[in-house]
Symmetry: D2
Subunit: 486 residues, 4 copies
């Protein structure tokens, strides 16, 4: 097998007939034709298709270690810093095609799976752990270019500090039984993005689990019996790319995943009923360094696009001469270059781990994930402050095709643009930050790696502050000026 095409992706998903619910109705027929999914599936397909572009395939694929066939480069387990650079180029090549709007482009999940599999030896010899299953699944996915999503988080029932579920029926998904064929899972998991439009669902428990039955890791096909994907409201504004340049293409959908006595076959169980492993594997594995590297690489492309939008607004209504406008645009430039510098540093300080994989520097990437959730919402704010009333002067494509076009052409022209182009810029800015799609993007970046308060707490505890405390002690202990003998 080999890296797939866009058509292969769409055909595979359509064939699954996964149990997906939108607005109270089960999806029937080809999901790729459903209004909530057709845009994002085309965008996803175009990513796969790029793997066969003659100019790009050397960037996007590499020879499979088992067959030599070209497989997706996001599966590459890097052994060198040059490999890391290749991974970055691959990620950013794909990200440019959607300007970073797809948080779950396939490279994110491929990277995630690659990282977990590369750390499989952590599971060796531990109770209820099956490292060979994890490695096997990784190879299967790599060789077949399998599309995957994941779900790591329990339902948001009660976020108090000492919550233990007290209902008789499970809410959070848990192992309720096991038999010769596998383990039986019942309950729900939160927010699988792209749930229903991937072939596989990777399920893993985040750290902090208190009950053994809630700690596990496995992957199953999306159309497994008993598995249901319950969608939020679709944020696709409509088909028109004039009206909805982003939501018509990139609304990835978020789903609640229901496990209705789902049987997970043994060969797909990576571990279960092992609280210690469940609470430690994610952090011990290469997941965080590699996932954060993928995320930061994508966010750079997105920030570039934000800067492009802001500058387009500035140009079209000619506000570049104002100091406070310059200051706001500079905030974006500062964020962009900071993110670039952090990714560069994470690669420069990469180290081989015990499995011989070249991990980018985690600490540096923790910085990026403490920075970006704070600056991205500010980008949206800057766009609103600069765009001002222009963001509400947004007639639709149909308006421009009606008899009022001549009015629009005259009255919505701007210093630098025709009315149509000016309205397109503002509609794009609006769709990026003010449509339901846009605000979901902001929320997504705000919370990508979890609660910002917890992320800064994690950084505080993992960062080695000791050398600097020592420097303070040295000053306190030096009672005399230097060179007192001079």
């Amino acid at each position: 097998m080999t890296a797939i095409t866009g058509k292969q992706y769409i055909d595979r998903i359509n064939k699954l007939k996964t149990n997906v619910w939108v607005d109270g109705k089960q999806v029937t027929g080809n999901i790729s034709e459903h209004p909530a999914f057709k845009g994002i599936m085309k965008s996803q397909a175009s990513l796969y298709e790029m793997q066969h572009d003659n100019l790009l395939k050397s960037i996007l694929t590499y020879p499979s270690p088992s067959t030599g066939n070209p497989v997706g480069l996001s599966y590459l387990q890097p052994k060198t810093k040059a490999d890391l650079a290749k991974r970055r180029e691959m990620i950013q090549q794909w990200a440019k095609s959607n300007n970073g709007m797809m948080g779950r482009s396939p490279d994110y999940m491929n990277t995630t799976l690659m990282a977990f599999a590369s750390s499989a030896q952590f599971l060796e010899g531990k109770e209820n752990c099956f490292p060979e299953n994890l490695r096997g699944f990784y190879e299967y996915a790599r060789e077949n270019d399998i599309s995957i999503t994941h779900t790591f988080v329990d339902p948001q029932v009660n976020r108090g500090q000492y919550y233990l579920e007290a209902t008789t029926e499970p809410i959070a998904a848990r192992v309720i039984d096991s038999n010769d064929e596998g383990i039986i899972v019942k309950g729900a998991r939160l927010l699988a993005t792209q749930g229903g439009i991937t072939e596989e669902l990777l399920v893993m428990s985040a750290a902090g689990i208190l009950e053994e039955e809630k700690g596990f890791a496995f992957s199953i096909p999306s159309n497994t019996k008993g598995l249901k994907f319950l969608c939020r409201e679709s944020f696709v504004g409509g088909d028109s790319t004039f009206n909805y340049p982003l939501s018509s293409r990139y609304d990835e959908m978020d789903t609640i995943v229901v496990f209705d006595n789902v049987l997970v076959p043994w060969e797909r169980v990576f571990y279960y009923n092992n609280l210690d492993v469940s609470n430690n594997f994610m952090m011990a594995s290469a997941f965080q360094p590699f996932a954060l590297h993928q995320v930061a690489c994508r966010q750079i492309i997105k920030t570039e696009f934000v800067l492009g939008v802001v500058q387009s607004i500035i140009d079209t209504i000619n506000i570049g001469e104002y100091l406070h406008v310059q200051e706001k645009a500079s905030e974006i430039i500062v964020a962009l270059e900071t993110m670039k510098a952090l990714v560069m540093k994470s690669e420069a300080e990469a180290k081989l781990d015990e499995s011989g994989v070249m991990r980018p520097d985690r600490t540096t990437l923790q910085i990026s994930i403490n920075v970006f959730p704070k600056v991205y919402p500010r980008f949206a704010e800057i766009i609103q402050i600069l765009g001002a009333s222009g963001l509400m002067s947004i007639p639709t494509e149909n308006s421009f095709q009606s008899s009022i076009r001549k009015d629009l052409d005259q009255y919505l022209q701007s210093k630098a643009d025709t009315a149509e182009n000016r309205v397109k810029i503002f509609r794009l800015a609006w769709d990026m930050t003010m449509s339901s799609f846009g605000t979901r993007q902001t929320l997504y970046e705000r919370l990508f790696f979890g609660d910002p308060v917890r992320l800064s707490s994690q950084l505080y505890f993992t960062y080695d502050k000791n050398p600097y405390v020592q420097r303070v002690q040295e000053v306190l202990n030096s009672n005399t000026n230097q060179l007192n003998n001079l």
Copy 2:
């Protein structure tokens, strides 16, 4: 005549057959049945209807000075501080019915017109000024409970500092001719909120006009020949109040107003071709104190509602024990009490103006309009940080009426609520801050009285800093300690 009912309002608007364009189509039939307008028109109608509620009419109306009939209290020209208090109660009574979501509830415009008319003597004896027309229009509106909107701003073509329009055809509306019947206006004006669903359009120039033909003030019926209202995309999410508790009711619509050689009859012209009056009337008149008073009173009610939503989120997922959550909720409390204090101070420091009208203190209200545009966006941010993934777990009303309801009931329940109520809270929070309707609300509050940078500049220049500079001089000049002789 007398204060009207909701039905009267709707009938009047439907009868006008105003030239309104939505998504490339002219509205035909009853505008009150059009999807983009039916919700807001019902909400508007319900305000008028409240004037006939036995419990409320003493709050919402007062006896007309000319007929003794009950007329809308927002038309009251206050002579005492008690009158101001009545105005506040009236404004907040109406605001509570929509939780402050209607920026253009009729009291805003009635207040605006009342304020301008009360300052009509500024126009006495000045060239091309017709104070009697302004007073007459105010009385007409008061006695007939006329619904009005306004437009004060030119199209956003070029916001550079020294811009003069250079096109042959006008872009910004201007007087291009006059004749026996009136003045002829051609060009466009920006963002008449509720344009097309009011009986009248008040048109006035903001300060800073450089060309005489662009400085004028008049009012004309919405169905005047040559007048067109071009709508932005509708932000009504749909009819379901479960799904769209706010946008289904309160999307006020913003319109570009086109004047296609519109004849404004002389009796409706308040002034024209008088640059000095045009650039000074708005600030010299009672407009700013009264409009800001109305706005601040409404914003208080809105802030209370935001606090209610935030507390509902805190309760439903049980996060009230966290210091950082308490801190964020407290930010809203601080803003709420600050706004209340400012309104109270503006009334306590009110003074009679030269026309015998009791003006609330402008300086104090300038503070409120420097504060609120900064805090309101922060409210939206707080909701997003606290609501987190809950804001994306928002299945629709149809979902709750389908066979997956039992899954939703189980998996979306929260500590304090059933799944349905919890989803309703989150959908409300989402519609208030993340739907297209919600982000437009944020933009609206951010920019209500114009560019925040200019507002703070205006405050700086109008505030009397001299007494405090004098205190500094006294310190600088006192070379000795006090009581040196002790």
Copy 3:
């Protein structure tokens, strides 16, 4: 007796020969002549002296309820809102004389004692409580115009959540014994401001005490046997008011108070060994409303002065034309008017408490103490940003009296001022925000009522959010649009 003069104050303090330690030396001789205290004691004396100024005494004093003699108005137990207004005028009259730089001007402590005494009935009939002692001490202080300071806080040994002192010898002051004459106290208390230059020391425990022996309230003369005041480094820069216009006059000194087996006579014990009373009296009493009212009134005067300094800087180097400068000055104006509005609201919403005392509204004043600690440090920042290098171009008074004066006159002149006046403005700005005195002022305002995080938490818990949660419920329960029958 009657309100005292400045000389009386100084004589009384000098006579006490209180045990005060500065920089490793015990103060001997007249403390009013000690470099660390002479400036502040003169400033304090000048406040007392004002009580005898013919123009001011009606503002600063009132007839004693027991003798009819004029006594300090800060002792007034207000029965009406007019009384509250008198209190405000009194506070601000004194504050203007030092531009709000004295956080412990006598009115602060007089107010504190008045408030506690007015709530003495809370102590009635409770174990180990002596309300009559509290009332008696209040009357004694009022009639004799006694100067007082207080200490409420334990040493900062360990601020972890569950700290219990484990040393054999006490660190935090506690009752270690009692006998016929009184209770014996051993240990220390933190930061009595003006410690050593007042006649009395009021000692009270803040809420949150876990051990009975640490909960008490009493007052003792500063020269009581076993009582020691250990000073921090003095922040008086020197005598020159040119060089140190503020620190030469207003450095109030902070002291650690040591109780070395101090006997507190029974008639001065207000309560002890009663955990419940100790943890609740402060919040139940009128202390917080009245103390916060005094504080906010003073902070208004201080903010006016900050605005005066900022405007003086703007004028002297002519930077008023810049938008970002206007914006920064406006921030101060916004804060100033906000504080004024909050004080006005606290008085307008004052209510009689169970003892018949007119308490200003606590909630409103809690807002002020959540606002000011955030804005005051920003004032200091604004001064530094605007003053820039001017704040380092600050030659001393001696320089202006030397032969280089002609250079200074030429090279340090500014647009609006002579070199000397310009340097004075900048030295004042520096002494207010950058000298050791100035930064202590910032720290003091930042922490005046304790840790800001706790203050916002307290506001969250005490504020009634329920009416607004109800409004949300109403919206959620109204499934239909209003006026659906129209």
Copy 4:
């Protein structure tokens, strides 16, 4: 010649007998013994001395290209990225010895001169330009390890936009004449840091000069006839390193430089009376990249130290368990790693300029100078919030040597430290952020490269935003979804 020792530095400065004025008195005798200078001169000397430390000399020196003798590595004109890394190590080695508190350690000026000299070819063939003088002075300084300071800025008379000096006598220094020997300069320049304790003064005009006579560059010995250094007040708190661990060592002094008809000999004139060169040389030269590189390298070391101080406070009073404390410490970690990443990126993206010098990437370093002035004042704020009352519980060294020591030992002990060590930590924190020395440090970092508003404006204009505007255009022009043919 060769890199000098500490003693050589001190001897050279003492011998100059430069005309320096402190507090109205001219400095006489050895300046190295003057209270305002002895600490900083010892610290400076210790830097030179390190050049002779066997372990450090390979880091701090390199073989002179003309003699092979070891000369200061800050003079190195880098040809490779490895050279840049050497420069960084050198800078940080020196910075560690003073924890980044010396903004004008010799490497700053050596770097500045090296950078200007490396760009001397810009001056070739231009009127009134003497590139050979600049190169010669650089070699002289390098070979003799000359200590230098500079002054680039005019007095702050009037910062309005269109200011032209109107006095008859010059205020800002200008060329008033020239003769056979050189040019004659009269007037003043602002804030030469370390003025009077360096051998040379480099004088150069910043961009934006409107008058030819104010545009020049030269260097003269500090004791040149007619040259005077007028000091601000000294911020040395005293000799005790217990009391003033930083100001006793690192107060660099800022001086107004007066040119009283100073003759600058022709061989030291680099250019004059050439408006175009004067306004462009600084930006066109390698100055900004190299100076910013030195600054950022130093600021990293300083930030590490700040983190050490903050963590020491956290440890000593045991507040590490609080989320909001963790969050604040994390802010410093984020800033530290961001600065490190930016410096790394500036080196990785370094390019050879037209003179064959390897310039670090200017854009990246512009980011650092937009970041640091914002975060450093926040560090000071964090220290004040966390240190709280501990920052006022700071008895002096003398107190610990007096009979009250046992009280201090008991009552100021903390969870992790003895009283003495705890007080030392807090005194260090205070001296770093709250003493006159500490606030001057904050001001210095805030304004190091000029007005932050201008810095962000400069970044906006120099940054290439075009590629991102192009990406926006591509989206606007793609009217169809990708892969529409699928």
